[in-house]
Amino acid sequence: MNYHWNWGIFWDISPDGAHSYLQTLLLGTTWTLATAFFAWCLALLFGSIIGVIRTTPNAWLVRLGNAYVELFRNIPLLVQMFLWYFVLPEVVPQAIGTWLKQQPNASFYTAVVALGFYTSARVAEQVRAGILSLAQGQRLAALALGLTLPQAYGFVLLPMAYRIMLPPLTSELLNIIKNSSVALTIGLMELTARARSMQEFSFQVFEAFTAATVIYIVINIAVTFAMRALERRTAVSGFIGASPAAAH
């Protein structure tokens, strides 16, 4: 292959004049992490609410939850980003639309919202599955003890369901970090976008994307270990999940 390798490129000054290429990649990494973090908070909150109401006895709440999940799960993430970014400001009243469009970090907020809602549908599905995986007797026993439905969820069902859900939620968290790269299509200069612009400026395409790959892997391995630690800390002896005794 006729390719001029230059690993020293990372220390060269990028066209912005102030940062080296490596620094621009790290700047991109902070945007990736910020986007993933805030979107994850949103996804966990909405995902939990929707997941819970889909297991309640109220048929209308269940239908509402189902509609929410189908809406956000069945539209490709890329399309959702475009809808939030380009279509939403045009369908709201013009003053609001103009205000939306003039926000300084519009692409960041849009990415958080789009990614948050998209992932919340997937989290909701896992929350529902987690709750349904509990024996029906748990719910009945809680209610028979005189707990209200919210109390039954809060004290009995959810503490167990969340422990069961931790492994799939770990995958979802890894996904949200990787999916944040879709935000480059609406102009967020996150890690992948920085790698792309680095290769455009320097033409060192393999170095740029190798660096991005390594950074993603390091972040995701760190997240995986942190979530495993969380699994072990929250494990209840004799109940599902990693048992503290098994972790040597």
């Binding site: 292959m1 001029h4 004049g17 609406i186 102009g187 976008a193 792309r196």
Partner: protein, 301 residues
Amino acid sequence: MFAKFMLPAAAAASLFSAQAFAQDLTGTLKKIKDTGTITLGHRESSVPFSYYDDKQQVIGYAMDLCSRIIDSVKRDLKLAKLEVKLNPVTSATRIPLMANGTVDLECGSTTNNLDRQKQVAFTITHFVTANRFVSKLSSKFKTVDDLKGKTIVSTSGTTNIKQITEINSQKNLGLNILTAKDHAEAFLMVETDRAAAFVMDDILLFSLVATSKSPKDYVISADALSVEPYGIMLRRDDPAFKKVVDAAMVAIYKSGAINAIYDKWFLKAIPPKGVNLNLPMSAAFKKVVVNPTDSGDPAAY
């Protein structure tokens, strides 16, 4: 006696080198000769340089130039038949595909600059564009100073965004610079008022405006921020192939064939919509036609 010895030796040496040239082809020329094919990398929507028309055929100004280059290569290698393969490339794939030998020539609108020459080679410049901005006529922006404090957009990874970033810090304009994924999206940001102006190569702005919903609503700035030469890209460290390609380009310029090719794409209606860009040859490009150059230094134009 020494002189007597030298003469036949020199003659033999020159004979040997001539034979060596004919037989020991190297690099891309050898590959083309051995396989009987040449692969062109082309862009999908770089109007009017290299793009798909309404029949999904790849056409454009750079494609016309490349087909003439191919004719020259075929003549040089004395091939009866040379199969031409087309391979679409994007700004992200053009370098790997060039480096690994998938494409032999990239016929599009790639800026030739000194940084990029560390990775690839460029033949003679085939277009000289300038970095300008497009804005809505109603916003009345004339120079870059009028944009002070405004939100502007450019396409990520372009030399244009690099220049506007530099100008922004030099002139202390306080611009909020957005990046878009591609030209169409950047233009959309101006269309929907997300950005006040789009900074880009003027030729691309002309074609974006010409194909927009209401071309008369937009204006392209008169003052240029910089000069950018476009070149057809080939592998670096392949002087034999570059020599053939350069010679073909010079022949197009010297024979005057360039005028007809240029007029066809820039002064006449072009597919698919029959839009006429109406863009006469710039003074900078006329200079290149007279004195063909492959320089990647903007100061040379």
